[in-house]
Symmetry: C2
Subunit: 232 residues, 2 copies
Amino acid sequence: MRVDDLPEIRQLGLFASMSEEHFEELMKAAYLQNFPAQVELIGEGDSADFLFFVIEGCVELYGTANGREGVLALVRPVGSFILAAIMSDAVYLMSARTTKKSRILMIPAQNVRDAFEKDDGFARSIVVELAGYFRAVVKEYKDLRLRTGVERLANRLIKYHVSQGASGKVKLPCDKKTLASILGMTPENLSRAFGTLKAYGVSVDGGVVTLGDMKSLTVLAKPNPLIDDPST
Amino acid sequence: MRVDDLPEIRQLGLFASMSEEHFEELMKAAYLQNFPAQVELIGEGDSADFLFFVIEGCVELYGTANGREGVLALVRPVGSFILAAIMSDAVYLMSARTTKKSRILMIPAQNVRDAFEKDDGFARSIVVELAGYFRAVVKEYKDLRLRTGVERLANRLIKYHVSQGASGKVKLPCDKKTLASILGMTPENLSRAFGTLKAYGVSVDGGVVTLGDMKSLTVLAKPNPLIDDPST
DNA sequence: CCGAATTCTTGATTATTATCAATTGGATAT
DNA sequence: ATATCCAATTGATAATAATCAAGAATTCGG
């Protein structure tokens, strides 16, 4: 498949200030592929051979240790992942799998590093991208470290609510099993956390959650822009 | 105080490929200051006015939310902190305080950003630095998410043991209160975790820990280079 | 439509961690 | 030396979360 069909890639912050020539070169080396759901694209510990972009669908980044597994993030269109491993020329720290049928752009690591050496605009864009990644993980860390499960859920609901237009209803972006893992809890405890939030005006109907008492929910959640606001 | 007295700064990866001229410029704008212990250098939410380097002493990075506080990392000579906030021109996500008498180099954020624009080598070095930061936080996240307190302690002891020459003894790098916070637990639970590790050959005498049965300790800890090895 | 598989929920129990309280021990200052 | 402070430990209890088990609800393929 030709990559030229993807103007959204060219528009990405990462490539916006890259020269046309270098961009062409990168795209010539790139692969665009469709994957079914539940395909493991990379495994932690593998050497970083490709930089990935999610064009369509959704990819889950997760880690394993001591017999446990946890999802760190979902990547949706158009997002990249594991840029840091590429720039460090190191192994991946996280595994990645598709959660549904997905279209993925893969750029060989060496081409990315070559472009980084040749193209100053690209190098600077990578700084901005990595700084944003870093700050996002720090926020995840604080969320996990400083809040209980119920608080994490409450804040996540408020966050989704805002990003979806604050209509009073929230559409969950994934199934509850995955949401639980994103929030750092088991599915059982997510169910119970929803139960706890009933007293704060939260009612659940399948994948749709109604926030009926924002005031008391907010008192419980204590939302914090330094954790919850993706733009800070 | 003159910054020229600090050849170790020039040697840092961050500045190694920077032009002499731009480095001079940066250093001219920089402040070198001595702080006593327990001084709050920055507070989370403050706008990022300076990039910091620890020249001597030690600085603790910590975050607060929902009435709780947690240490994310200790920065020792010669390390920098909050580069990501500077490059994102955003507020600090973490607070920082000295844990002992420390000498700190501060470079105004705008000068750093100017140098980033002008000096391509510097821009590329920042990428490497940020990628390393990112990977370090991901490892912290996995450690916290996928391990129990006892496992975290066991792995930390093994890590210190290796970095200190694997003599069978480990000198703790800070008081136990701080260690507890770094490990994401309370001081009480750190005491109990040490108690649990007695059965695995670990004995504590003040700040010195003896590892008497590496084999069983390792079985318990299940060390993982993708979390514990700072060089991967 | 049915049946199989899976997700989701709920209950009971256990594990892990935090909190509160009391005490010990060492360091320091007067 | 004595008093004071604070880190560290220990015990008791409570909060939080994980695990195991069973059922209910939902999805999916035929």
